[in-house]
């Protein structure tokens, strides 16, 4: 099935603009923070609608390359990563560098959705 248009992401963005540009000024001062929280939640949800599919596919590809394992499920590899980190398998040297690279990539995708301002 094809979704009806405009897409959810576009609806969220239009609703958010209306809230920020016109409604926020009408809110009593003590509810302004609530208005900003709502706008923030809508922005996160919009970015997630747009990017989450690609981000989770990229995360799966990275994990399977990291472990050179094309058959295991991404969830299983993520759990294996936790076990290995706790066991100290990436404490030093090249193993550590590879891990930190993987973590940076994951973090970049997570921040791009949850808080792009923190990307630098």
């Amino acid at each position: 099935m094809t979704n009806d248009q405009p897409a959810g992401e576009a609806l969220l963005e239009a609703a958010r603009r209306l809230l920020l540009d016109e409604l926020l000024a009408l809110l009593p001062a003590e509810r302004r923070y609530d208005g900003l929280m709502i706008a923030n939640a809508m922005a996160i949800a919009g970015r997630e609608l747009r990017d989450a599919g690609a981000a989770s596919a990229a995360a799966a590809r990275r994990l399977s390359a990291f472990y050179d394992d094309a058959t295991a499920m991404p969830e299983a590899l993520a759990r294996r990563l936790v076990v290995d980190i706790r066991a100290g398998r990436f404490d030093d040297g090249p193993a550590r560098e590879r891990l930190v690279q993987l973590l940076r990539a994951e973090l970049r995708d997570r921040l791009a959705i949850s808080n792009p301002k923190a990307l630098r």
Binding site: N40, A41, I44, A78, D91, L99, L103, L107, N115
Partner: protein
């Protein structure tokens, strides 16, 4: 915020409780209204008019009540009240503790009353409005002094700070492998319970495990001593708030928490809580405590601070997800975790 305290019945039960506790001839609750702030606890403004007994007169108080859902590490009201009394006895500037009620028939959950003070605690205002909190170096120095006073309380000296007949702090466990490694174990456990893997936090925890300072002196730590949790007015400090995370711990842990980047409210170049340089804060602490600050230990505890706040943020989100607390603020708090993970990674990479 629950509205079960809004009616006349709740006021009547509260008035009767205070009347009995203070041997008053009459008590009227003239105001009982929700206060903003406190994602974990409920705070209400309570105005009382009391005749006779131990505290006659009109009193502006805060009623602090257990929330309907709670976060793993936070203490209940009875424990927090006991800590507040110990802190007051140790000379820490806190709102005067009044009464504790553990009879759930009164207001449904445990609560206590303390004096309501004027001022603001809002961190984002404090870092932007130069007139708040008085001269900033003096404020930072004073906060160092306050922390040093709290750290006078140890498992050995505790007796000196307990009022006759007051309960001790037996509810605070003594660390098993030391405060640092105990926290590492606790946060791993918390992540396991939350579910989805967080490899960056796992990496941070491994770093914290490998770099843990050997257990040292044990003192009473606040564990949430930061900008946002103290009240100021135009002149300076009014009171240290939010005692629900108190524990036996390492003194440097509180200094690290205060200075951690995540508690500077965007004023990242002012490394002492977004309000000043570290120097005056450390100066106040050293002068009052007679202890030297340990920069390496503070760095360690700053890594721990971001890690801990990330775990708490995820737990806050879990109250929304699993415990069905509908607060949007809780939901959004979980989304802060990624930013904190970024800090964990930067700090652990900057000092391998």
């Amino acid at each position: 915020m629950a509205d079960d305290l809004a009616g006349a019945e709740a006021r009547g039960r509260l008035a009767a409780f205070v009347r009995d506790q203070l041997a008053a001839s009459s008590v009227e609750v003239t105001t009982l209204a929700p206060l903003r702030g406190g994602a974990i606890q409920e705070n209400w403004a309570a105005d009382l008019a009391i005749e006779g007994g131990q505290r006659p007169g009109r009193h502006a108080l805060v009623l602090r009540r257990d929330a309907a859902t709670r976060v793993g590490e936070s203490l209940g009201r009875a424990e927090e009240f006991a800590l507040l009394r110990v802190a007051a006895a140790a000379g820490v500037t806190v709102p005067e503790p009044w009464l504790l009620c553990t009879d759930r028939a009164v207001l449904g959950r445990d609560f206590y009353l303390m004096r309501r003070l004027h001022g603001t605690a809002a961190g984002h205002r404090l870092v932007r409005e130069a007139t708040l909190g008085g001269p900033r170096d003096a404020l930072a120095e004073r906060l160092g002094v306050e922390l040093a006073r709290l750290h006078r309380v140890t498992p050995t000296t505790l007796g000196r700070f307990l009022a006759p007949g007051a309960p001790g702090l037996d509810f605070l466990p003594l660390p098993r492998q030391g405060p640092a490694l105990d926290q590492v174990a606790r946060y791993r456990d918390a992540l396991d319970r939350l579910g989805p893997p967080r490899p960056v936090l796992e990496w941070g925890l491994r770093w914290l495990e490998r770099h843990a300072p050997p257990p040292g002196e044990l003192v009473l730590v606040h564990q949430d001593f930061r900008t946002g949790n103290y009240l100021v007015d135009e002149a300076g400090l009014v009171a240290i708030l939010d005692w629900e995370f108190g524990a036996w711990g390492e003194p440097m842990a509180d200094l690290g928490w205060f200075c951690a980047k995540c508690w500077r409210f965007g004023a990242v170049d002012k490394e002492a809580g977004g309000i000043a340089d570290r120097a005056p804060f450390y100066r106040g602490y050293e002068a009052e405590s007679g202890r030297r600050v340990d920069h390496q230990a503070i760095y360690y505890w700053e890594v721990m601070a971001h890690l801990r706040w990330a775990v708490v943020a995820l737990q806050q989100g879990d109250r929304f997800i699993a415990q069905r607390d509908p607060s949007l603020e809780l939901a959004l708090t979980a989304r802060i975790a990624a930013e904190l993970e970024g800090e964990v990674l930067s700090l652990t990479e900057a000092q391998p």
